[in-house]
């Protein structure tokens, strides 16, 4: 209970009710004083920052919105209309940015795959999804369904992998890489922690090798050299080769993230499990791995975000991911010199998806931490 300060003071010592906080420390004024103007230095910092921010935002807004051109036939037409950004290049090439050169009449297939992706991801990402058990079976089957829908065969026209491009290609590489590297990475982490010295050495060598070389060199190997390692005369699709390399590369990083989790589990957990007579397999599956994975969620998601971002590297070996499409558009004399516009557009796509991934991992961490506290 609060009272006004000028009330008669006939309370016994120590029993005076709390006075209200001074008006300058509550509400908007209090927040401003506390967070923006708490000291002379802070005030100066706020003023300088607001001024710089105003300069930046007003110039950017002019360029991106007020002086921008949304529809025109070429860069020259854009420049003739206004001085700002020329977003017309995005509008003209939007189909390619999304599907690459996937044939137009078949585009319902990637669209369907995307819708099914949401259904397949829901039970994995959110544990209160209705009918979760049944849907998880669908999630397990999803990669095969998606592969069939995208590639074709059995009743559908085959679309060669060279025609995939744009964000579709990013999604294919990202999702296959994530799905394949998770089990592989866990196996490598367990191998590196294993008591069996031969497996430990093999896993360590593989992990250190994959982490020690840049991904681009592995992609070069996939594109130029992998055929040498196969029996003469055999060869397989470039996209498959790239998918294998990307998955192996990400698996090595993932293994290190999971290993951190495994090492963080107190010894008592292992000892308790072995006192109960659990086998190594049962200990791993029921005791240590669930805890290790929970601890390493931030690390695992970082690896996934990294893999997703690194999928752009395929442009260097000539595949048409969004950056490849952007470069193709820029090489067109009609759209010469609009690199900032196109790359910013691609950056927006990556930012939105990666930001969503990292926010989801933070949410999941908080949720699991809440489970711990109960």
């Amino acid at each position: 209970m609060t009272v006004s300060p000028d009330a008669p003071h006939d309370y016994p010592p120590g029993q005076h009710p709390s006075l209200p906080p001074p008006p300058t420390s509550t509400g908007i004024v209090g927040w401003l004083r506390g967070n923006l103007f708490s000291s002379l230095f802070s005030t100066a910092l706020t003023i300088v920052t607001v001024w710089l921010l105003w300069l930046l935002i007003s110039n950017l807004a002019d360029w991106m919105l007020f002086d921008a051109v949304v529809s025109a036939d070429s860069q020259a037409a854009c420049r003739a209309l206004d001085s700002g950004a020329c977003w017309a290049v995005i509008a003209a090439r939007l189909d390619q940015f999304v599907y690459g050169f996937y044939p137009e009449p078949e585009r319902w297939r990637p669209n369907l795959v995307f819708v099914l992706l949401i259904i397949a991801l829901a039970p994995i990402l959110y544990d209160r999804t209705p009918a979760r058990k049944q849907l998880l079976w669908f999630s397990a089957a999803y990669p095969f369904i998606a592969g069939w829908l995208i590639y074709g065969g059995i009743g559908l026209t085959v679309v060669p992998t060279g025609m995939y491009g744009g964000f579709l290609l990013t999604m294919i590489i990202g999702i296959t890489g994530i799905a394949a590297s998770l089990p592989l990475g866990i196996a490598l982490a367990l191998g590196r922690q294993s008591d069996m010295i031969a497996f430990r050495i093999l896993c360590t060598v593989f992990i250190e090798f994959a982490r020690g070389v840049p991904l681009i060199t592995l992609l070069f190997v996939a594109s130029t050299m992998l055929n040498y390692f196969l029996p003469p005369g055999t060869s397989f699709d470039l996209l498959v080769r790239v998918l294998i390399m990307v998955s192996l590369f990400a698996a090595a990083y993932l293994a290190e993230a999971v290993r951190g989790g495994l090492q963080a589990i107190p010894r008592g957990q292992y000892e308790a499990a072995s006192a109960l007579g659990l086998s190594w397999w049962a200990t791993t599956r029921k005791v240590t791995l669930p805890q290790a994975l929970k601890i390493s969620i931030p690390g695992i998601v970082n690896v996934f975000v990294g893999l997703y971002k690194d999928s752009t590297l395929v442009v260097i070996i000539g595949m048409l991911d969004p950056l490849g499409i952007a470069r193709a558009a820029l090489a067109d004399a009609k759209w010469n010199g609009l690199s900032t516009e196109t790359y910013l557009f691609v950056a927006l796509f990556f930012f939105v998806s990666c930001f969503a991934m990292s926010r989801y991992s933070m949410w999941l961490e908080r949720r699991l931490a809440r489970g711990e506290a109960q």
Binding site: N35, L202, V213, P214
Partner: protein, 384 residues
């Protein structure tokens, strides 16, 4: 013991499993190498590194730190590429560290606006592909910076143009040697004094700081006594481009800046996590002892935070070095673009070239990893 009983023993099973696994891996490797041999025989190819010093490279490199011409060997070209990789890595690491520590500190600022802006910066850099950033900054330099004739100039000595950045080139005269000698003598004396203070790390730091400041001051005095032995050659517009001074090609500027920009976000996050990992009881205890803020940071917080910051910091440096291999996307001639690019295409020695490139990167990674282990052991808290 029957065979079954032996099999039931865990140790036997372990050995059998391991032998089986190793045999399988060796069989796989043998199969792959056999395929390579068969393929090479079918294509009439040989394996060897002779091409490195036998053939002239026959291509130009747009930035060379050592003497190089198209008649030089492929080995020389690879060396030029490697040095270019190191150059990008070195400048990038310095820039990324400065930016990263600054942004990390700003994120912890009590000022709401500043900390929000810093975290927006971190989110943007961490959630965009580094290759995209390289292409974006390269595009900005090429397409939006003015032609040399309308160059943006800073104090009439640094010029920003779409052909590159031109900065004054320092020319050292003989007197500069004395300045250097004085400076390094000061540093040497500081080092000796620091060694004496081995048991009191806090005082050692003060001695080191004082020593460095003193050496710089001495060097400055020597500089004036020797009669300003540095001249600067400022770039000047002649014809269509700037002549003189030090020119940084746009590819170098774009690559180092993009790599530093990208990596600084990760470093900022590490710095923040490191400082937050120091228990606030430590700061409270230091405050109650009456230590001023700056000394709390220097003596209590930073030494403990560095323990957390350095391991991820070194791996950020390593990532930056490995990411510099994306130089090939904008035509900066690093190791991958020379040995793994043009040399590979000209000689058709994919296997040898890629093996060498990978070996070099692996060597760099393992060296940095060894340093990290050494540092971790040095700063590890006893008893943990």
């Amino acid at each position: 013991m029957t065979a079954l009983a032996i099999w039931r023993q865990e140790s036997t099973r372990f050995v059998a499993l391991q032998i089986g696994g190793v045999l399988l891996i060796f069989a796989l490797i043998a199969w792959l190498l056999g395929n390579v041999a068969a393929n090479f025989a079918a294509l009439d190819k040989t394996f060897g590194f002779g091409f490195l010093w036998e053939l002239p490279a026959n291509y130009d490199i747009n930035q060379t730190l050592i003497d190089y011409s198209a008649q030089s060997t492929h080995l020389r070209a690879a060396l030029v590429g490697l040095l270019n990789t190191f150059l990008v890595a070195a400048i990038g690491i310095v820039l990324a560290t400065i930016l990263g520590f600054a942004v990390g500190a700003l994120r912890l600022s009590e000022n709401w606006l500043v900390s929000r802006l810093a975290s927006a910066y971190v989110e943007f850099t961490r959630n965009t592909p580094v290759l995209l950033l390289i292409l974006l900054w390269h595009g900005i330099i090429i397409n939006t910076l003015p032609h040399p004739r309308q160059a943006l100039s800073i104090a009439d000595s640094v010029f920003l143009t779409n052909r590159g950045v031109y900065v004054p080139k320092p020319l050292f005269e003989d007197g500069f040697l004395y300045v250097l000698a004085v400076f390094f003598a000061g540093l040497g004396a500081t080092w000796l004094l620091c060694r004496r203070q081995r048991d009191t790390p806090a005082r050692r730091l003060s001695v080191a700081v004082a020593g460095v400041v003193f050496s710089v001051a001495l060097a400055a005095i020597a500089f004036f006594l020797a009669g300003n032995p540095i001249r600067f050659e400022t770039p000047a517009l002649r014809g269509f481009n700037y002549q003189g001074g030090l020119s940084l090609i746009p590819e170098l500027v774009a690559l180092t800046w993009a790599l530093a920009f990208y990596t600084s976000g990760f470093i900022a996050e590490n710095v923040r996590a490191g400082i937050m990992s120091v228990d606030c009881g430590q700061t409270d205890a230091a405050r109650s002892l009456g230590l001023p803020r700056i000394r709390i940071l220097r003596l209590i917080v930073l030494p403990q935070a560095m323990r957390v910051i350095v391991p991820p910091l070194t791996s950020s440096y390593l990532d930056l070095t490995k990411n510099s291999s994306l130089a090939i996307a904008i035509g900066y001639m690093d190791l991958v673009a020379t040995l793994g690019g043009i040399t590979l295409n000209q000689t058709g020695r994919e296997m040898e070239a890629m093996l060498l490139v990978m070996a070099v990167y692996l060597l760099i990674s393992l060296t940095i990893a060894a340093f990290m282990n050494w540092y971790n052991n040095r700063v590890r808290l006893p008893g943990r």
